[in-house]
Structure formats: C-alpha cells, structure tokens
C-alpha cells in the first residue's frame, strides 16, 4: 500500500547527477552516531557544490554557491536527524539519503522505517503543515515545545524548509515486508539466493509488515 502527501513525485525523472547514501539502522547508540548526521549533510553539500563551478572573481556566483551549500547542508541534516530519531530500532531497514540534481532544481530524499504507533501522529502533523500559515505554525510549535520538555522538534525542521528555504515537501508512506526490507540492502547474489531459500522455508508469520516513509524535498536553484 502506498499513500502520498504533498508534492511527492512517486517516480522522479532520472537525474544526470546523483549521490545516494545508505546507512545501517542504528546498532550504536544514537548519541554516538549523532555527529554523523552533520558530517553526512556537510559532505552532501560539499559534493554538490563541485557541479557549480563559481567564478572566483564574481562575488555574486560565490554568494549563490555559499547559499546553496548552506541550504543543502541544513536540510540534509534535518532530514537525517529525523530519520535517525524515528527509525524503528527493531527493523533492519537501512536509512537512505539521496540527492538528485536537475537543471533548475534539486531533490533531497530521505527514507526510513516508521514504527506503526507513530504513523497517525506524523500524518496529522503533515496535514497541519500543509494547511496552516507558516507564521502561525511557527509560533504554535514554539509554544508546544515550551509546554513539553520532552519535545521532539521534527515539526520545526520541516516548517523551516518550507518557510525559510522555499522548499516543496512531499511524503510517501509505503508498506513493505521485513523480508523485502532485507533485500533493500544490496547483497551479492549468493546471499540473495540463500535469503530466498530461507524466506521460502520460514513461515508467513515471520515476515513482519513495516511502514517505510520517504520525505522528498524539492529546492529551486
């Protein structure tokens, strides 16, 4: 089953330049790997900038480059922080982050497993995000954070992408079987073969249904 919210191109056109990252689901404590979110986001932004050779003597192009770099590193870091925070710790679904470059825009996509108890809450926040004036929602989110000390502020991150970076956001919720999730990890064909045998032998009940959510951010350049 697939559900789409916002501006989510289910099958985006092939881009000429892309970079894909897959991260193992957290076995190390989140605390330990937290630093890697910023590291990965900065890498993505740095990598992207190579395709925009700016004229050193042209301050305008340098400024544009710095702005794009700042935007991509901010957005990629927010997407990864959310994915790492919410990725269900029991699944073995890798977290994916993808950057696709087109002539006049770019797309950042992150996907992770979302535990079933968080789905309804997240979808209702998406609804609120898509249907509320950013100004109002901004104040509302700060007030909420003020009341709830255990705040998980993913909401503000998404809101800033729309309001401050003029990004278009979309989401895809997809149900997959755990067995299929295994295959998402690209393996050699021998282990794929062994997996297939194992899954044929194992009973239906061992294949848990999981929801994978993909957040897609489009940014004009």
């Amino acid at each position: 089953m697939v559900q789409i919210f916002g501006e989510c191109n289910n099958d985006p056109l092939k881009s000429q330049e892309y970079l894909r990252l897959r991260f193992s689901p957290s076995s190390a404590p989140l605390q330990l790997r937290w630093r890697n979110n910023g590291l990965s986001a900065d890498f993505l932004a740095d990598y992207l900038i190579t395709f925009f050779p700016s004229e050193e003597n042209d301050p305008q192009s340098c400024e544009k480059e710095a702005e794009l770099k700042g935007a991509v590193s901010y957005i990629a870091n927010e997407l990864l922080e959310n994915a790492m925070k919410f990725n269900g710790s029991t699944s073995n679904v890798p977290i994916k982050l993808e950057l696709m470059l087109y002539s006049d825009h770019l797309i950042l996509c992150v996907s992770n497993h979302l535990p079933s108890e968080n789905i309804a809450g997240f979808q209702s926040f998406i609804h609120e995000l898509l249907n509320t004036e950013p100004q109002d929602l901004y104040v509302r989110q700060i007030e909420r954070a003020d009341q709830d000390d255990n705040m998980t502020t993913s909401g503000l991150g998404l809101l800033t992408m729309i309001d401050d970076y003029n990004a278009k956001l979309g989401w895809k919720f997809e149900s997959i079987l755990q067995e299929k999730a295994d295959n998402i990890i690209q393996k050699g064909f021998i282990s794929r073969f062994l997996n297939k045998i194992a899954s044929l032998v194992s009973s239906q009940s061992q294949r848990a249904k999981l929801t994978v959510v993909t957040t897609m951010v489009q940014l004009s350049i």
């Binding site: 590193s73 901004y138 970076y165």
Partner: protein, 113 residues
C-alpha cells in the same frame, strides 16, 4: 557562566550582559538542556538588556532554533527585558531565522554585522 566543547561554545559576559555563541551546534534534543539552563540563569539575573551575539555560530539545527525560540518567547512573556540579537547575514540560517524571532517578540532589536 560558559559552556565550551570541541564543536561550540557559549559565554556569558556579566558586564555587558552579552551571550556570545560560537561554532557548530547540532545537538540531539535533550543535549540542549544545559544551554537552556544557562539562558534561564541569565534571565534570573534580570539585566535590563540581554544581547545575543550569534555572529560566530555557523550552524544550528532546528532543535537549537527551537531552544532559542523558547528563550525569546519567555522573554516576550516576561516583558521586562529588552533583547538585542546580533547576527551575520553571511550565515544563511541567521539571515533566515533572526527575522523569525521577531515574530515571537516584536520589540526585539536586530543588529547585522
């Protein structure tokens, strides 16, 4: 009062009632607690004006923005303390964000580098 790590530092100068921020701050939600505590201690001192110097703070994630937002919001509710925010337009998140703080506290004074 100050907090210093490899990635960032926050220092409060009592004489000028200025809080200076430096570095990269991309903490996990709860890790902001000690910083919020420092900010609350500064509020408790009740200086007439508090200055936030953000010019050295190169990166801040949304959890950090939320923390700053809460600080601004609580000052706005208190109504007794004037807030000056010093930012740098070259740092993208500040150009975008410092203006949002004014939504929470219309009397906030902005100074660009």
């Amino acid at each position: 009062m100050k907090i210093t790590t490899n990635d960032y530092s926050i220092k409060y100068d009592t004489e000028t009632a200025t809080i200076s921020w430096q570095g990269f701050m991309r903490l996990n939600g709860k890790e902001y607690d000690p910083i919020l505590q420092l900010l609350n201690q500064v509020i408790d001192l009740e200086p007439p004006i508090i200055t936030l110097n953000l010019q050295g703070l190169e990166a801040l994630n949304s959890s950090g923005i939320s923390m700053l937002g809460r600080f601004v919001f609580s000052l706005a509710k208190k109504k007794k303390i004037q807030l000056i925010v010093q930012g740098d337009k070259k740092i993208i998140w500040q150009r975008k964000w410092v203006i949002n703080f004014q939504r929470l506290m219309p009397s906030l004074l902005l100074e660009w580098k």
